[in-house]
C-alpha cells in the first residue's frame, strides 16, 4: 500500500460518508453543506487523477456557484428550513433496494471487464495540458460543435430560469 493509495482511501471515505449525510440529513441546509464537503472530496479525487484543471474547476463551479445557488434557493423556500414531517417518502425502502441493486449490478458488470484492474500510473508532466483541450474544442473537425452548443445550452438555461423565476407582477409593480 503506497502513501498515495492511503490518501485516496481517506478521500474516498470522506466523500462517501458526506454523500450519505447529504441524502439523510434532516435539515436541508445541512444536506447542502455536506454536499459541499462531498464536492471537495471529488475535487481531491480529480487531483489524484491528475486532471488538474478539472480539480480546480470543480471547486470554482460546483462549490463557488452551484452550491451557492442551491443555498440561495433553500433560503427562498422558507418552509424547508424548519424540520417538518419525515425527510424520506414512504417508499424509501424500495429506493434503498433499488440503489443497492444498482450498485451491485454496476460492480458485477464492471468486474467482468478485462481493464478493470488497470493500475493508473502517474502521467509524465506536460502531457496533460489545458491547451490540448482548448485546441480540441476549437477544431471544427473535433469538438467545435459541442463547444458552441454548450454556450447555447447555458444561455437557454439562463433565459428559461429567469423567465420562470422572475415574478412578473412584482417587476411590473416597480
Amino acid at each position: 500500500m503506497t502513501s498515495l493509495q492511503i490518501v485516496f482511501l481517506i478521500i474516498a471515505a470522506v466523500t462517501l460518508a458526506s454523500a450519505v449525510m447529504v441524502v439523510t440529513a434532516r435539515r436541508l441546509m445541512h444536506a447542502a453543506l455536506w454536499l459541499i464537503l462531498t464536492l471537495l472530496g471529488v475535487a481531491a479525487v480529480f487531483a489524484t487523477l491528475q486532471a488538474n484543471f478539472f480539480a480546480v474547476v470543480q471547486v470554482l463551479v460546483y462549490i463557488g456557484a452551484i452550491a451557492i445557488l442551491i443555498i440561495f434557493a433553500i433560503m427562498m423556500t422558507r418552509e424547508v428550513m424548519s424540520v417538518t414531517g419525515p425527510r424520506l417518502n414512504r417508499g424509501w425502502g424500495w429506493a434503498a433496494a433499488a440503489a443497492a441493486g444498482g450498485l451491485a449490478g454496476l460492480v458485477a458488470v464492471l468486474s467482468t471487464w478485462q481493464g478493470f484492474q488497470t493500475v493508473l500510473e502517474p502521467l509524465p508532466s506536460g502531457s496533460v495540458g489545458v491547451g490540448a483541450l482548448g485546441e480540441a474544442f476549437l477544431d471544427p473537425n473535433r469538438f467545435a460543435v459541442p463547444f458552441e452548443v454548450a454556450s447555447v445550452l447555458l444561455v437557454a438555461a439562463m433565459v428559461g430560469a429567469i423567465y420562470i423565476a422572475v415574478d412578473r407582477k412584482v417587476v411590473e409593480e416597480q
Binding site: 441524502v23 470543480q58 417518502n89 454496476l106 480540441a136
Partner: protein, 106 residues
C-alpha cells in the same frame, strides 16, 4: 499507482447514494442534491477513463476531458432551471414536497 477499479467503485457507490437520494427524499431540493451526486459520479468515471486512455498512448487524449466539461455545463443548466422551477412552484403552491405536487393527477 491506484487501480482503476478503485475509482470505478467509488463512482458507483456515489452514484448509488445519489440514486437513493433522488428516489427517497421528499423535498424537491434534496432530490436535486441527489442528482448532483450522480453527476459527480459520472465525472469521476469520465476522468478515470481519460487517465487510462492517456497513459495507454503517447498522443494527447482529450475526449474524456471534453465530456467532463460538457457534464459541468449540463449540471449548471439543470441546477439553474430546476431551482427556478422549485422557487416558482413554492411561490404558487407553498410547498416543495414532491409527493404533494400532484396538480397533474386526473
Amino acid at each position: 499507482m491506484i487501480p482503476l477499479s478503485w475509482y470505478l467503485m467509488l463512482a458507483a457507490a456515489l452514484f448509488a447514494i445519489g440514486l437513493f437520494g433522488v428516489l427517497a427524499r421528499r423535498n424537491a431540493v434534496a432530490v436535486l442534491l441527489g442528482i448532483e451526486l450522480m453527476l459527480n459520479a459520472v465525472n469521476i468515471n469520465l476522468l478515470a477513463f481519460w487517465h487510462r486512455s492517456q497513459q495507454l498512448s503517447a498522443e494527447p487524449h482529450v475526449t474524456g476531458l471534453v465530456f467532463a466539461a460538457i457534464v459541468f455545463a449540463v449540471a449548471a443548466a439543470e441546477t439553474a432551471v430546476a431551482l427556478a422551477l422549485i422557487i416558482s412552484v413554492y411561490r404558487r403552491r407553498d410547498t416543495v414536497v414532491v409527493d404533494e405536487l400532484d396538480l397533474l393527477r386526473g
